[in-house]
């Protein structure tokens, strides 16, 4: 086996969204040194997700940096990425509702 093909150089990743998962079942084996963004883009293309630029990716509830690779995000072995839009803006934002009735 080529050294680069050894298991220790890869992570198994599943990306979960509200439109489905990629891969549909199980995990995809990807290089540890690959940016997380690569698989997220592949997921978006596979599931037909348009404009995911403002979305966030989390693992175990913690946001990860998608422009970094899996090692730099502290991820190894099997990883489930939750990929979706951020929380919406509300009352404290410029477009928030003003209190009318108490």
């Amino acid at each position: 086996m080529d050294k680069d093909d050894s298991k220790e150089n890869f992570v198994e990743v599943s990306v979960v969204t509200t439109s489905g998962s990629y891969p549909a079942h199980g995990f995809e084996r990807v290089p540890k040194h690959q940016k997380v963004r690569v698989l997220l883009d592949k997921t978006a293309a596979h599931l037909g997700l348009a404009d995911t630029g403002g979305w966030i990716a989390t693992v175990n509830g913690k946001e990860i940096k998608v422009e970094l690779n899996y090692i730099d995000n502290g991820l190894s072995d099997q990883v489930e990425i939750d990929f979706g839009p951020r929380e919406g803006g509300g009352g404290n934002a410029s477009f928030g509702c003003q209190t009318e009735i108490r």
Binding site: T18, W55, D82, G84, E87, R102
Partner: protein
């Protein structure tokens, strides 16, 4: 929107709420039958049910009702930092509401009647799963 077309769009969009997603997010489905999507957030600060009434989807955004885990409409809620969970009473319903683009109560509130749903309809993050995700992430910060 013809009711059958609205139902087809609803059914298509809730199909992605898979067991895998529910497990990962700590969500529990109470009802997923047009026009109602009723989901409990088990993880987070305290359990809550988000009931999205999606009649006429997606000509109009869902009306989002906040329920206790046993299904009663909540008359008081804790506000999140961004104010998505608005503790004041909505002038149309008399209940606390979701003040967020994509919620019918937002777009019908006097503060936002000029911010039309048509600005967001069909855009990324504004399908049913996307709206529910935005509400859930706000809930985690309450």
């Amino acid at each position: 929107m013809h009711p059958l077309a609205a139902k087809l769009k609803f059914d298509d969009q809730v199909r992605g709420l898979t067991d895998n997603l529910l497990r990962l997010r700590g969500w529990k489905i109470h009802k997923m039958e047009y026009p109602v999507l009723d989901v409990e957030f088990i993880s987070g600060p305290k359990g809550i049910r988000i009931q999205m009434v999606c009649d006429d989807w997606d000509d109009v955004p869902p009306s989002i009702q906040l329920l206790s885990t046993s299904g009663e409409r909540l008359s008081a809620i804790k506000r999140d930092p961004a104010g998505v969970f608005n503790e004041s009473r909505h002038p149309g319903t008399g209940f606390p509401f979701i003040c967020m683009r994509g919620s019918r109560e937002y777009h019908t509130h006097s503060s936002h009647i000029t911010d039309h749903w048509s600005n967001y309809r069909g855009k990324s993050g504004y399908d049913l799963g996307g709206i529910l995700s935005q509400v859930w992430r706000a809930w985690l910060k309450t």
